[in-house]
């Protein structure tokens, strides 16, 4: 009888733990199991600069897919601007990939939100390169070694994201 109570208690604890985890915003999912190398891309930023992911090898990159019309994106981008300022010297590079249909509103948004990191228009092919971007926002946290350490669907939890960034930044090679 006692063992039955233990089993039930364990079940309750496990269930509540899973439920809690399920409710975390922008929860990071294990990146495909074996940490794949982030696909390289070559785009042009809205400022007309070339943007290649390999150019940032050695840095920790937060690759954020977003759009100007996406309300959750607008909510988290000011936090990304702060993170970029705070950790730039430690090797953090945020890259914004806009999934807008055209550059006009992106340029306006870039100025309005004082974005301090490169932003380029993505498009369907860029989305497919990263496994499909079928909803926004989505972010990928890429280590100094160019591997994907986390994917975030939906708004990122500020505290969890910063912890993950700090962890990657503190490791010279990851």
């Amino acid at each position: 009888m006692r063992s039955l109570w233990i089993v039930i208690a364990a079940g309750l604890v496990l269930s509540l733990a899973l439920l809690y985890r399920h409710q975390q915003p922008g929860s990071a999912k294990p990146a495909f199991g074996t940490l794949p190398v982030a696909p390289d891309f070559s785009l042009v930023t809205i400022d007309g600069q070339n943007l290649n992911l390999t150019g940032y090898r050695g840095k920790v990159v937060l690759l954020n897919f977003w759009a100007t019309w996406c309300a959750p994106c607008r909510e988290e981008i000011p936090r990304f601007v702060q993170l970029q300022d705070k950790y730039r010297k430690d090797g953090l590079q945020i890259i914004g990939i806009s999934m807008d249909d055209g550059p006009g509103p992106v340029r306006q948004f870039y100025d309005d939100f004082h974005m301090n990191y490169p932003v380029a228009l993505g498009g369907a092919k860029m989305g497919e390169l990263y496994g499909g971007v079928f909803g926004l926002p989505i972010a990928f946290l890429i280590g100094r070694d160019g591997r994907i350490y986390a994917r975030y669907f939906g708004v990122t939890d500020p505290s969890l994201l910063e912890t993950a960034i700090r962890k990657l930044l503190s490791s010279p090679s990851n």
């Binding site: 039955l4 109570w5 039930i8 079940g11 309750l12 496990l14 269930s15 509540l16 733990a17 899973l18 439920l19 985890r21 399920h22 409710q23 975390q24 915003p25 922008g26 929860s27 759009a67 019309w69 996406c70 309300a71 959750p72 999934m99 807008d100 249909d101 993505g122 498009g123 369907a124 989305g127 497919e128 499909g132 971007v133 079928f134 909803g135 926004l136 669907f153 939906g154 708004v155 939890d157």
Partner: protein
């Protein structure tokens, strides 16, 4: 008495476990992260005018059911990546241009036509497109118009559930 308590606790445990694993509560009962439960839509689309993804998928494969006119009111990029086969791209209905395209498309459609609007760009309550599109269609006198309830986004709620998709234009 003790046996009854144990049975109840076991049942609660099982229910919690199934819910946390996402096995229960697919449609309206789907858990949203706390930060995504917003109430941006001050005047939301009535529940009776929503259609669930499973319901639509079933309807699209049924040979006897009336096939709705499917209209996507999100961005072109997302449409090109994946959309419901047979659905038409109209464009984001949060803009005047998008609403004008929707109005133009619906002008020639009989008001009794069954229409389903969908977007799926963002979590339901944050979608800037679906409500303006639905309002526009209603104002034009369509009575059989539904909005596809996409809880999180098109990828999570349609594509990853294995429902059919098409790519490109």
């Amino acid at each position: 008495m003790k046996k009854a308590v144990i049975v109840h606790l076991a049942a609660i445990s099982a229910l919690l476990l199934l819910t946390s694993l996402g096995i229960l509560g697919e449609s309206g009962a789907k858990l949203l992260p706390a930060s995504l439960v917003f109430t941006d839509q001050a005047d939301p689309i009535p529940r009776v005018d929503l259609i669930q993804v499973g319901e639509l998928a079933k309807l699209l494969t049924a040979s006897t059911a009336e096939r709705p006119l499917l209209i996507q009111v999100g961005s072109r990029v997302l449409y090109e990546e994946a959309h419901i086969p047979g659905s038409e791209y109209i464009g984001p209905a949060d803009s005047a241009a998008g609403l004008a395209r929707l109005r133009q498309r619906l002008q020639s459609v009989t008001r009794k036509k069954f229409i389903v609007l969908y977007c799926g760009c963002c979590p339901w309550s944050r979608c800037p497109n679906i409500k303006p599109a639905w309002d526009m269609a209603r104002s034009m006198g369509f009575s059989k118009i539904k909005a596809l309830y996409i809880a999180d986004n098109f990828g999570a709620d349609w594509l990853e559930k294995g429902y059919p998709v098409a790519k490109g234009d």
